[in-house]
């Protein structure tokens, strides 16, 4: 599955988010790629899931399912959400 990690600039917090998502996916044995984007450049991009902080997630309109993350350094929260996403991805 393909995941986009999104923030305002696509440089700082989204990169932290991406690293934590990748770590969680590796630990759970979920296969896929995670890429960072800024808010302006996700339109027209194909993805299965989008992860972003709450205030960014509220602004995203996209075909892919959007997950909002309260705390992007909270590995537990991210792991729960990526597990949920991967289960949906299989159905």
């Amino acid at each position: 599955m393909k995941v986009l990690a999104v923030c305002g600039m696509g440089l700082g917090s989204s990169l932290i988010l991406k690293m934590n998502i990748e770590k969680a996916m590796e630990e759970e044995g979920i296969k896929g790629t995670v890429e960072v984007r800024d808010l302006s450049s996700i339109q027209g991009e194909r993805a299965d899931f989008i992860f972003a902080s709450e205030e960014i997630a509220a602004k995203i309109e996209h075909n892919a399912e959007v997950y909002s993350v309260k705390n992007m350094t909270d590995k537990k929260e991210i792991k729960e959400k990526i597990l949920e996403a991967s289960q949906r991805g299989e159905n």
């Binding site: 600039m9 440089l11 700082g12 917090s13 302006s40 450049s41 350094t73």
Partner: protein, 421 residues
Amino acid sequence: MALVNFIVFEILGEPALLVGMMALIGLAALKKPFSKIVSGTLKSVLGFVILGAGANVLVGSLNNLGPMIQQTFNIQGVIPTNEAIVALAQQTFGRETALIMGFGFIANLIYARLTPFKYVFLTGHHIFFMAALLSAVLGTAGMTGIPLIVVGALILGFVMVLFPAIGDPFMKKITGGDDIAIGHFGTTGYVAAGLVGKLVGDPEDSTEKMEFSDSLSFLKESVLSTMLTMIVIFFIISLAASEEVFREYAGDQSIFLFSLMQGITFAAGVSIILSGVRMIIGEIVPAFQGIAEKLVPDAKPALDCPVTFPYAPNAVIIGFLFSFLGGIIGMFFLGPIGLSLIIPGMVPHFFTGATAGVFGNATGGKKGAMLGGFVNGLLITFLPAMLLPVLGQLGFANTTFGDADFGVVGIVIGFIARLFA
């Protein structure tokens, strides 16, 4: 011998390849799969080349605005935009920047391992910007070659643990925990906001007890807010300029069309540069973090400023508005005291003003967020103006580094370097 020559003169001579080599070393040290090493290395090389292309687009617009301001107001007009000044600096100091950044990572790890400052600075674009600043300041002061790189890397590594350490007491208050530090070179403004907040207000009187519309949230989209600001700035300057000056740059275009297209061109340049920076640091930062976790497992990650936003979303808006206000008021005092005109940019005021608001709110509630944001706005107006003389040739570029710590570090290092030169 041929191989050594090839590495030293061909690869080290070309900044793009040098950046690629750093990604290569980082990824290889983490024992990533071969395909990942190849793609990561190539992406960061590509990112560096994209950066240069973006600079060319942006300069097309900047080279209209700067002279228009000069001819109209007889003062140098500067719009602080980190991406722009860093992309321009790469044309002269590309190799130095890349090497200072690479060795700066190592210096950060050494400090984190040996001193009580246990932080690993993970905001890659700011490390890159600071490396560019240090190359320019030390280079202007007359340093070259290996001393420049060693001194630059030692300073870079030091500020990568120093600023998170200064911000940490406030971060504990904001997050209510001890898991993350602030890793953003606007920390001077944030700490000033936190201190001002402590003086004027009460944390119980929090901004988060207010009701707020989020109509300003589009500002988070940095390319969009850059574009809107630049259109407005071009429009105002075009109106102020004489017909003759305006025609010299706009040709037959109307004021409206000229401002619109110049603003869009500027933002397009920033957008290209950002995508280049993204490709560079997207590979290097995870490698750095992976290595840091092995070598300094007890270090705290120092992260980009938007990580503070969820703790006080209202303070984000208040901080931005008051920072921008500080920037506008401060602007009118620059000319009379003989400094260049620093035109407030949306992006630095949004990101650092918002964070200053969060810091001010944590120590002084509403009043703290307002005054803290305002003080940050003054700082990121006066510091960039005072930074220009130590940047040498780059100081005439009509753009400069936006965030407070770049100003503080540049001015201090420039001053010290001149004592020895």
